[in-house]
């Protein structure tokens, strides 16, 4: 963290440890309150799985972390830098925080290879050859190197989502955010994406994952976060979360999601 100037750094002993810090975050869409006094801290290397009923604010919260949504109250500190209107800071944070979307959002007019090399070349100013080499390396890691020169439209949903993960990894991010990465996939493709995510988690990446895949959550999560009605209701390690949740709303949600 030597490259961060003291002005940008919110220098406290605790923030050295934490990758993401949300303090009293609030957000409204018009009259509707989407986030209510959210406090959450993610350590470096920690894997956090966020779950909750739809409309509970999970996606809004994760999108606030790289400022795809702007929070109106509270403080968000990512990688030691507070998110404000300062565009330079935002772009720096975004380039260090990878994001995977529910609907993949690959660039349809570019080949898989161009999707992967675009940001490293234009944001990181890497030479083309280097960017392609890194891209190939990550395509192998998500196990689709043979698709490198196809267009996204020619791939299956699972393959597209793995390309999207590789695209985020090509920026060599410090943190990865996943916003319901398997929700738009056919059932038989969910596993191939989850396998890649499990492998990524085991490599020590800091991850925040919004998902309903409780099996995945049990396997990789260090911390479970349950959100309901714009609030963080419960934060607990997975063994406690699944076997002995303290909050009634958590119990209800778990009984609904685990019963089928």
């Amino acid at each position: 963290m030597t490259d961060v100037s003291p002005v940008q750094t919110v220098a406290s002993a605790a923030s050295e440890e934490s990758a993401i810090e949300l303090i009293g975050v609030g957000k409204w869409y018009g009259e509707f309150q989407a986030l209510r006094d959210i406090n959450l801290s993610v350590r470096r290397g920690e894997r956090v799985v966020v779950c909750g009923p739809s409309g509970s604010g999970k996606s809004t919260m994760i999108r606030c972390i790289n400022r795809l949504e702007v929070h109106q109250r509270g403080t968000i500190i990512v990688d030691g830098v507070e998110l404000t209107d300062n565009l330079k800071n935002i772009e720096r944070i975004r380039s260090d925080v990878g994001m995977v979307f529910q609907s993949f959002n690959l660039f349809p007019h570019l080949t898989v290879m161009d999707n992967l090399t675009l940001a490293p070349m234009w944001v990181r100013k890497k030479p083309k050859a280097d960017a392609e080499q890194i891209a190939m390396q990550y395509l192998e890691r998500v196990q689709i190197p043979e698709q490198a020169f196809k267009f996204p439209g020619q791939l299956s949903g699972g393959q597209q989502q793995r390309v999207a993960i590789a695209r985020a990894l090509c920026m060599e991010p410090k943190i990865m955010l996943f916003d319901e990465p398997t929700s738009a996939l056919d059932p038989e493709m969910i596993k191939e994406v989850l396998d890649v995510m499990v492998e990524l988690a085991q490599s020590g990446m800091t991850m925040v994952v919004v998902t309903h895949e409780m099996g995945f959550a049990k396997t990789v999560a260090d911390t479970m976060v349950f959100m309901d009605n714009a609030e963080v209701v419960e934060v607990a390690p997975p063994d406690q979360f699944f076997t002995n949740p303290t909050n009634d709303r958590t119990k209800l949600f778990l009984s609904q999601i685990l019963s089928h």
Binding site: H109, V123, A168, M171
Partner: protein, 370 residues
């Protein structure tokens, strides 16, 4: 029903697709006589052709005079007098440009056509090729048209005319207009209120005025505001006026394309840390321009034909030059043939543009669906 047992229809996919043969009779029934209304229209059209075609062929081909030393031969013929074209083609095509220097215009047109053909080959569409090519081509064309160096006599722009003038106006309009239109379209969607207001006001006010008015303003009104001694070339002023008019229409077409880009594309680009201009250039514009390519081409073709409006400010494009030629009392009665020839020239250009855009659309859609 045994076919249904085969999983995923794999056996079927090995077989070639069935060939659908349609006989002439069946084709006619499907396309010309499907329903009483279409049958009626077919019959009416057939009757019309039966009466119109033979006299037309007689006039245009059989009885026509193709070459004539003087107008005398034409006057005695009952058919078309195509001889007006070989007789008068030079003033029609080149206007009042000095007669002995017409070869320079031919050279300029050749450079232009070659440069366009090379540019339109997708394989050559790279900045390293297109940019030097056009710098070279424009220098060559300018040298040929203006002269004044290397022993070529100087020809003022007021003497330019005919097809080269049409070409200069059209190219100038599109080359100046396209970048402006993209900026206006982006500006209209900008989140900065000042930029947005300026772009909206500009587009709406220019779109609310006929092109003729803009040409008048550029030719007559604009010079009044220039300080003494400053004179901007009239041809250039007309070109800028047409470019701005073109850009305002094109901006709205491009805005339509921009609106069709899903929000997720912006978010994905932003999440990778791309700044506004990188995102716009690499992600948004390539997709938006592809979506609205038919509309863009539409306005480019319209811009080609709009060049004929410069007649009202005293510039002689190919159409006005032809009208001027027809002032010759010996040949003025053969205006139909002369105008048909001009129409053919316009058609060839516009049809080529339209064919090219169709080819481009096909090429861009290959394997790149969402």
């Amino acid at each position: 029903m045994t076919d249904t047992v085969i999983p995923h229809g794999r056996a079927e996919s090995d077989a070639p697709p069935p060939i659908e043969k349609i006989g002439a009779l069946r084709w006619a029934r499907q396309n010309l006589f499907n329903g009483w209304l279409n049958s009626l229209l077919t019959l009416v059209a057939a009757a019309g052709l039966f009466y119109a075609l033979p006299p037309l062929i007689e006039w245009a081909l059989l009885d026509a005079v193709w070459v004539a030393a003087s107008d005398e031969a034409c006057r005695q013929a009952t058919g078309a007098c195509w001889a007006v074209v070989p007789q008068k083609h030079r003033p029609m095509l080149f206007g009042v440009y000095p007669y002995d220097e017409h070869w320079r215009l031919i050279v300029a047109l050749l450079i232009y056509v070659v440069a366009i053909c090379v540019t339109l080959v997708p394989r050559f569409f790279r900045r390293g090729i297109v940019l030097p090519l056009w710098i070279f081509a424009l220098t060559g064309i300018g040298l040929m048209l203006w002269g004044g160096v290397f022993g070529l006599t100087y020809v003022d722009t007021s003497q330019w005319g005919g097809l080269p003038l049409t070409m200069v106006l059209f190219t100038g309009t599109v080359v100046l207009g396209m970048p402006i239109s993209v900026l206006l379209a982006l500006g209209r969607r900008s989140s900065l209120p000042a930029v947005k207001t300026v772009c909206v006001t500009f587009i709406e006010s220019i779109r609310g005025v006929p092109l003729v008015t803009i040409l008048f303003v550029s030719a007559v009104v604009f010079p009044l505001f220039l300080p003494d001694g400053v004179d901007i070339n009239k041809l250039f002023r007309a070109m800028v006026g047409m470019a701005i008019f073109f850009a305002c229409y094109q901006a709205e077409v491009i805005r339509g394309g921009l609106q069709a880009i899903p929000r997720g594309q912006y978010e994905a680009a932003e999440a990778l840390g791309l700044g506004y201009w990188h995102m716009t250039r690499k992600i948004i514009l390539p997709q938006a321009l592809r979506i609205c390519l038919p509309g863009i081409m539409n306005h480019i073709i319209a811009a080609f034909k709009n060049t004929s409006l410069v007649l009202i400010i005293g510039l002689f494009d190919i159409l006005t030059a032809t009208s001027a030629v027809l002032q010759d009392p010996l040949w003025s009665r053969f205006f139909v043939e002369a105008y048909l020839f001009v129409a053919l020239v316009y058609f060839v250009f516009c049809f080529a543009l339209s064919k090219y855009s169709q080819g481009l659309e096909r090429r861009l859609s290959e394997g790149r669906r969402l």
